[in-house]
């Protein structure tokens, strides 16, 4: 069986008046396992940030090294600095470790219970209490399946709206109820995380009373996109590459006018160009039966790179830069980021006769550079990327 892919997204709201968030998230991949840690430091501001950072780092590092949970808990207890005012060193934490087959091990210490979704409904995870070093932790083990989601959040979510719109805060049951109502089949980890944070921000009326963090992990089967960019240098390779594209088991994308025409000619399927210019600076997309997305070439790739970079370098809270518009660049970015766990670029190095015109500033090297930059960004977004040149 192919390893499952864990798409993870997290974001935070900083308590009103503070500069640093007292919650911290660590996501590490160790020997094909994915470990997600959420820590909430006591209080807020710098002190809480230090407590949470130390906690999340210790947990992630020790688990990565194969340490037992009692060792992890004892290390945290002995490492955290004691607060001079409260005389307590304290940080809550939750972590989940998921192996490539979907077996998940969850440990929670004083954080709100994580929520698991299957088919949009809450999946109950039986928790057992364990006591380590005088601390009571909750432990759960379960098998996750493709489509499942795990949502972890700090108590800033549970208390959202307190003293403002909601007298008693949002409360855990209402949060779960909302997650179930908001869930859509095509919800990504990022979209759900963003939505929950947006809801918290609105309930707090844009002045969070506490640090608020949401982590969402979505379990998806691996899906690779086959992206054909540009015609091959050797025309005799046209048929071979097109047939590989058509028989590929994954998302099929064609970028470039000439490339689209080649695919259309060899497959015998009509290439239809759509009428609507959604964005004036992005050429319209086309359709070929059996191909998931057909776009123009260099200009679209340039805009796509802009979008992916904005998404990648988004501020805390991962501001949604995809915009979910229907122009070629937005569709390409959305597909590569949301629908694919890996991308295989098949780049043709044939020169575009139009680009030989000295008045045209675009040349082949720009196209290749764009593809490489997109690939690098996608790798940093944890996608498996390959580039093949012809």
């Amino acid at each position: 069986m192919n390893s499952l892919y864990y798409e993870t997204s997290y974001g935070s709201l900083i308590k009103n008046g503070e500069e640093l968030c007292g919650d911290k998230v660590e996501v590490v991949k160790v020997a094909n396992d994915t470990i997600i840690v959420l820590a909430d430091g006591l209080g807020s501001g710098v002190k809480a940030n230090i407590l949470a950072s130390l906690t999340s780092k210790i947990v992630a590092t020790m688990l990565s090294a194969g340490a037992d949970i009692p060792d992890v808990v004892e290390t945290i207890a002995s490492t955290l600095p004691v607060c001079s005012e409260r005389q307590v060193a304290y940080s809550t934490f939750s972590f989940i470790r998921i192996d490539p087959e979907g077996w998940a091990h969850l440990i929670e210490f004083d954080n709100p219970e994580a929520v698991f979704l299957r088919g949009g409904k809450r999946l109950l995870a039986n928790r057992e209490q364990i006591v380590i070093g005088g601390k009571t932790l909750k432990e759960a083990r379960l098998k996750l399946e493709p489509g499942d989601m795990c949502i972890m959040f700090s108590d800033g979510v549970v208390h959202a709206g307190v003293g403002k719109l909601l007298n008693l805060g949002w409360q855990h049951d209402n949060v779960v109820d909302y997650i179930e109502k908001a869930y859509k089949k095509d919800s990504t980890a990022h979209s759900l995380q963003n939505l929950l944070l947006s809801a918290c921000d609105n309930l707090y009326m844009q002045a969070p009373g506490d640090d608020t963090t949401v982590v969402v992990c979505r379990v998806i089967p691996p899906n690779t996109a086959y992206v054909m960019v540009g015609p091959p240098v050797d025309k005799s390779d046209d048929e071979k590459l097109v047939n590989r594209l058509l028989s590929f088991n994954g998302t099929k994308i064609v970028c470039g006018g000439t490339t689209s025409q080649i695919v259309s000619r060899i497959s015998g399927r009509e290439l239809i160009t759509k009428l609507d210019y959604i964005r004036p600076d992005v050429p319209p997309v086309g359709t070929i039966e059996g191909i998931d997305l057909v776009t123009e070439g260099v200009i679209t790739l340039g805009r796509t790179l802009d979008i992916i970079k904005k998404y990648e370098t988004g501020t805390v809270g991962r501001e949604n830069s995809l915009n979910y518009k229907n122009d070629g660049a937005s569709l390409l970015a959305q597909t590569l980021i949301n629908k694919c766990t890996g991308v295989k670029f098949v780049v043709g190095r044939a020169l575009n006769p139009a680009h030989q015109n000295p008045d045209m500033p675009i040349d082949l090297s720009i196209k290749l550079r764009l593809v490489e930059d997109i690939a690098e960004s996608l790798k940093r977004l944890d996608k498996k990327v390959e580039i093949e040149y012809h």
């Binding site: 939505l195 609105n202 009428l275």
Partner: protein, 497 residues
């Protein structure tokens, strides 16, 4: 046409005048009932007749019944009054409502019939007879004017007002009282009332007027209001003249803001005022301050109109007669019921005309409380609890009633911005367009000219539809014509063929 009814109390009529008034009411009521019974007995299928046919039944022979009761001065009023009653009765019957032939007054003979009846008599029948025993029907005075059914006078140099009412026929005319020498002028033209030495067929009765009544009487004097019909009514031992006034419609101002008013959750009504581009300006609760019944509705209506006047607002309400706003929940009901809101809407409509406010616009209540003002997502799941809205699409939150009022206030702005969906697909060198809202399909050769060709076709289609007087198409035509570029109002949606 804006109408208002004012109630003028007759100021402590003397015993003699009270007798005259009671006698007039008696004669009117008896004539009314006897004429009604006569035509009812002659025409068992009266409810099925048209209005014109019913009016023809009130011919000279039938109306001569009034002569038996010296009700000649009231014949025109009787005809009008009976016609209105029959029209109302047949309207109810044709609408399928259970309705007995109207009885407005009963007498001892009706009691005897009940007592001596061989058939079983129900409690309802007995109550019907006794409830209307000796009943006075309000006396309709259908024309206002110097020598008409009634007129209003004022005493020179004082604030005293009087009503002159024609109640007697020639036979029963009363002598002019030697003491009736107060100089009185008709308030409409300032002409002095002259008493002849002959007998008179009218009564002059002083009116008890407070500030409110004087305000309206002055409006009549100044020509701002015109009295139409009136009814003379007895309540207990007091007599009232309810006068229907017609006002020249005031030109409505051009609205600068929108005011949406919805049924409230924490209060009776919730309102929101926004600018013409949708920017929120003010939100609040409207309360009737513990008024009850009709007073409650009046109070709420007046509060709404004050807000509209102060903010130069176009009032936007919603129509609850055919659709629900889904505000009530299984365990909770809003304090203003849908029927009360509808009554309020009607009241606000006629009052706004009198005050020179733009007529309120009534829109569909669908989704008012469930549509997100931020992302326009419409889901019932957006309601988190009784008064909290939390959008399941974008996370926007707020108080439900405020969001509802805001959505209503912006309804007209949204309507203007909504685009017309046009679906299209391309196949074999042709392009096919379809617009469900317009009910039209169009095909042409695919190419750069295709869109322009389609837009021209839409215009031609809509212009032709003006002749068919289709409201929806007229509305769409107005919207598309409002700007130079039709494509601003059209959204092209590709479909798989």
């Amino acid at each position: 046409m804006p109408y208002k009814t004012i109630s003028l109390k007759l100021l402590r009529p003397s015993r003699v005048k009270r007798n005259f008034l009671d006698n007039a009411l008696e004669r009117y009521s008896l004539s009314f009932e006897q004429i009604l019974r006569r035509i009812g007995s002659l025409n068992p299928n009266l409810a099925a007749l048209s209005k014109t046919q019913q009016q023809k039944l009130l011919d000279t022979e039938v109306m001569s019944i009034a002569d038996n009761y010296d009700a000649q001065p009231f014949k025109d009023a009787l005809k009008m009054d009976i016609s209105m009653l029959l029209s109302s009765y047949s309207g109810r019957v044709k609408a399928g409502m259970q309705s007995n032939f109207p009885i407005t007054r009963t007498d001892d003979e009706d009691i005897n019939k009940i007592i001596n009846s061989d058939e079983k008599v129900t409690k309802r029948q007995i109550n019907a007879v006794f409830d209307k025993l000796g009943n006075y029907r309000p006396l309709l005075l259908c024309r206002f004017g110097i020598n008409r059914d009634y007129s209003i006078l004022k005493q020179n140099n004082t604030d005293g007002y009087y009503v002159k009412v024609y109640l007697f026929n020639l036979k029963n005319a009363i002598p002019v009282n030697g003491n009736e020498n107060k100089p009185l002028k008709y308030i409409t033209n300032g002409e002095e009332l002259t008493h002849t030495r002959r007998k008179k067929r009218y009564l002059i009765l002083p009116l008890q007027t407070g500030d409110w009544q004087k305000k309206h009487l002055k409006e009549i004097e100044q020509g701002m209001a015109m009295p139409k019909s009136a009814v003379l009514v007895k309540k207990g031992h007091e007599y009232f003249l309810n006068v229907r006034l017609w006002y020249e419609p005031i030109s409505a101002f051009s609205a600068k803001t929108y005011l949406g008013v919805v049924r409230g959750v924490t209060g009776e009504l919730c309102y929101h005022i926004c600018s013409r581009n949708g920017e929120g300006l003010e939100t609040g609760i409207i309360s009737s301050n513990k008024n009850r019944g009709k007073n409650r509705v009046h109070h709420l209506a007046n509060s709404i109109l004050k807000l509209a006047a102060d903010n130069k607002s176009q009032l936007v309400l919603y129509n609850l007669t055919t659709r629900s706003d889904s505000l009530n929940q299984s365990d909770w009901i809003a304090s203003v019921s849908p029927s009360e809101y509808t009554e309020l809407e009607q009241m606000v409509t006629y009052k706004s005309e009198l005050q020179g406010l733009p007529a309120p616009v009534s829109v569909s209540p669908s989704g008012v409380f469930y549509k997100c003002p931020c992302c326009t997502s419409f889901k019932y799941a957006n309601r988190m609890d009784r008064n909290i809205f939390l959008c399941t699409n974008c996370g926007f939150s707020g108080r439900l009633e405020e969001i509802g009022a805001g959505n209503l206030a912006r309804a007209l702005i949204t309507y203007k911005r909504n685009k017309l969906n046009v679906h299209y697909y391309q196949q074999h060198g042709e392009i096919h367009f379809y617009c469900k809202a317009l009910g039209l399909s169009y095909s042409c050769t695919d190419g750069s000219h295709a869109l322009n060709s389609f837009y021209k076709y839409i215009y031609t289609y809509l212009i032709e539809s003006q002749n068919k007087k289709n409201k929806k198409l007229t509305s769409i035509y107005k919207k598309l014509s409002s700007s130079d570029d039709i494509s601003e109002h059209i959204k092209l949606i590709p479909v798989k063929n």
